[in-house]
Amino acid sequence: MKKANWLLLVLVLALSMFLAACSGGDDSDTGSDGGDDGGDGGEESSGDSEQVLNLMESAEIPTMDASMATDAVAFQWLGSTTDGLYRLGLDAQPEPAIAEDHEVSEDGLNWTFNLREDATWSNGDPVTANDFVYAWQRAVDPDTGSEYGPYMLGGVIDNATEIADGETPVEELGVEATDDYTLEVTLEKPTPYFESMTAFGTFLPLNQAFVEEAGEDYALEADTLLSNGPFMFTEWNQGEGWTLEKNEDYWDADNVQLEQINVSVVKETSSGVNLYNSGEVDRTGLTAEFVDEYRSSEEFRVEEEPTLFYLKMNQENEILSNVNARKAIQMVIDRQSMVDTILNNGSVPGVGDIPHNFTSHPETEEDFREINGDLVETNKEEAQELWSTAKEELGIEEAEIGYLGGDTETSKNLDAYLKAQLEELEGLTVNVQAVPFQERLDRDTAMDYDLQNSGWGPDYIDPNTFLNMWVTDGANNKTGYSSEEYDSLIEEANDELALEPVERYENFLEAEKILIQDDAVIAPLYQRATAYLWSSSVKDVGVNPMGADFNYKYAYKE
């Protein structure tokens, strides 16, 4: 009896061990042939001197379906495997890809793209104009459930919004294949930045036959994916990573030097740094605490992004409805010490509503930021004076305002810093509320906030992507700001001046001044940058302001 019980105990333990073993084997056939895998690992790292790039991403790829993609990781790998009409080159300017060139009608509404005839999908099918028609129709089709489809195409391609709203059949979309290699696009209104848009993920072509045959499995595994770009997926393990290899049938394969890109999902920066230091990866991102340690390293690099962060000020709040109060808030914040001490990752102080190095004047080629200069400055004394004026105008002595911030570690530090800065204004109390991102969005939509730490990244390379949102009742305005002068400048830029690049640009310059300087709608905080360690043997990786963050097409290893 006693013996039997002990036996049972041993049995249970053995069973749990067996469970442990089989669960491991289940997942990635690691348990059974561990030795072999070890060999593989060795091969990979010894292949470093060859054209193999080892990278990390901090998140999995949510989807490789171009119509469904919404985030940076998805757009990155869509961009590495798929060519659109145009793609962004090393200088981040659009260069011909599937389109050889295009003509624009005089009214700017009809774009005719002439496609190259030597581009093929990785299953051998030619890339034709129909692939674009299908992809764009699919993106706005309400049955697809795409988020970026209606967002990116709506208001640009003729009928896109009506189709997305289910009022018009998808066939009415302003895109047509006149023959296999000619694509006719009808725009809703002249859109000068349309060329750069065609490089964006949502506008990438899809092979209709392949997508429909794969059905619900499309883009879920490496073998239900198709590529027409520099690289193609050969392996994809959810949660773990993926492998891309050079697409030998790519139309421009001669200019692609990398043979393989291995990507592992690594979420912790410290783990990334350790992997980098042990030579297993060629690049790692650095968070603030690591920057000081590596700043002097030759492999240290800072990549500026065109993403802006700012304080949104709800003008439905009595205090914030006062322009002097808003100006005082703009002026009291010391941005330089904020980016130096809190962020410490190469981010630069925000001084307007258009980032540095984002767009340049069509004639003089001068950067937007250079022309308009710093529209906000830090001046604590003037801030106090403006604040006193505001208090007088409002007839108050003390003020209390809410502050909606994020719940991540960095944003908490940042929000604490800003609270201290703002409270330098005499008699001002700031109540910080740290909420999850989703809740912040909800409260933004409901305009249920006073001050809000918010940010915006561009969807296309044009000042409009930043400035258009502040027009009266703009979907993302949500500050209660409404200025006829501002509205008319933006409307004019997108309408009458659409084909007059210089005047149009002047309008944007003027509009930004009104927005930031005169009306103090937002208080710019910083323009984000990311600090990296990059293996010095890696050359010619392009950095893009939108879509795929990095361009590996021309990259090579020395």
Binding site: N5, L9, V12, L13, S16, M17, A20, A21, S23, G24, D27, S28, T30, G31, G34, G38, D40, G41, E60, T63, D65, M68, T70, D71, P142, D143, G145, S146, E147, Y148, P150, A164, D165, E216, L220, Q238, G239, E240, G241, S264, V265, V266, K267, E268, S270, S271, N274, L275, S278, E280, V435, P436, Q438, L441, D442, R443, D444, T445, A475, N476
Partner: protein
């Protein structure tokens, strides 16, 4: 015995049903939508996409639909990973988590028991102090700190094991050790205390008086009795490991389920929230059941079946 197990399984189903119901309604209180580009879409556009996923139905209707599918074993389709089935995601990701969890549990408790045993046998001796110190250290150092130290020194500096990532059994070594530290400390402490108590009781003195040698007494009479309280803490410990894996998985880049659970809540990925919650709940109940059965094996006094 069979009757008891059947009864417990019925309870399991009822509990799962209640958990599913509560989670479903609680989840609907989460702010925001499952849309990933909600900040870019107008409210009308959002409504159209939400309707496509049946999220415009009244919550009770959504609940009914979900439960009907659940009974048929269909956990639905993830929102953050378009078109990917929740069941597939969980099955894909659970392997690594279970593997390091079980390994840590086994390594931790066995080593911990040995350590506790040594302490008890050499009570107040050098070995006792040494292992008590180890146990206190193991319990007070958070596993992520330990994991970080391990990763840097053993991984980067010594190069004995892979720094992170997944693939071979070598990759599981450091996550397992990091995770095993806590159960090791707990097991050692319990084992030591219990052994000391047991060894002081009358029946041990009797056994000794009858001429059983010291080690015979320790292993035949002592350990078995000391195990009972230890088994009690094993359950909660195993549950603790499930949450502990989250941090360890992140540090060693293990493609496990822990992180998915948290992320699904942050992104309002309703089907994954439900799927992982139910899965963890099921696992929890199962562990409790196994522990209850183990009691009977170890201690005849708490044998559960009536007629045996």
């Amino acid at each position: 015995m069979a009757r008891y197990i059947t009864q417990r399984l019925v309870y399991l189903v009822i509990t799962m049903f209640l958990i599913a119901t509560f989670t479903f309604f609680l989840m609907k209180f989460l702010p925001g939508t499952p849309l990933s580009a909600a900040d870019r879409l107008s409210e009308e556009q959002q409504a159209i996409v939400l309707a496509k996923y049946g999220l415009d139905d009244p919550v009770p209707v959504q609940y009914f639909n979900y439960m009907v599918n659940l009974v048929q074993g269909d956990l639905g389709i993830s929102f953050q990973f378009d078109n990917r089935e929740v069941t597939t995601i969980i099955l894909d990701r659970i392997g690594p988590s279970l593997q390091i969890g079980f390994q840590a549990m086994i390594v931790g408790t066995i080593l911990g028991m040995l350590l506790g045993l040594v302490s008890a046998i050499y009570h107040n001796g050098f070995l006792d102090y040494g292992s008590t110190f180890t146990a206190v250290l193991g319990q007070s150092i958070p596993s992520f700190v330990f994991a970080g130290i391990l990763q840097y020194f053993v991984g980067v500096k010594l190069g004995w094991f892979p720094v992170a990532l997944w693939g071979t059994w070598e990759h599981t070594v450091m996550p397992t050790i990091s995770l095993a530290i806590f159960p090791l400390a707990i097991a050692a402490r319990f084992m030591r205390t219990e052994m000391l108590e047991v060894m002081g009781s009358d029946y041990i003195t009797t056994a000794r008086a009858k001429g059983v040698n010291k080690f015979g007494v320790v292993f035949k009479h002592g350990v078995r009795n000391a195990l009972i309280p230890l088994v009690t803490v094993l359950g909660p410990l195993a549950i603790g490991l499930m949450t502990g894996t989250l941090v360890i998985e992140n540090i060693f880049a293990v493609p496990g389920i822990g992180e998915q659970f948290v992320k699904s809540i942050n992104t309002n990925d309703f089907p994954i929230i439900m799927g992982t919650t139910l899965f963890f709940a099921f696992f929890f109940i199962l562990i409790v059941l196994v522990i209850d059965l183990l009691y009977g094996v170890i201690d005849p006094r708490i044998r559960l079946a009536e007629g045996e």
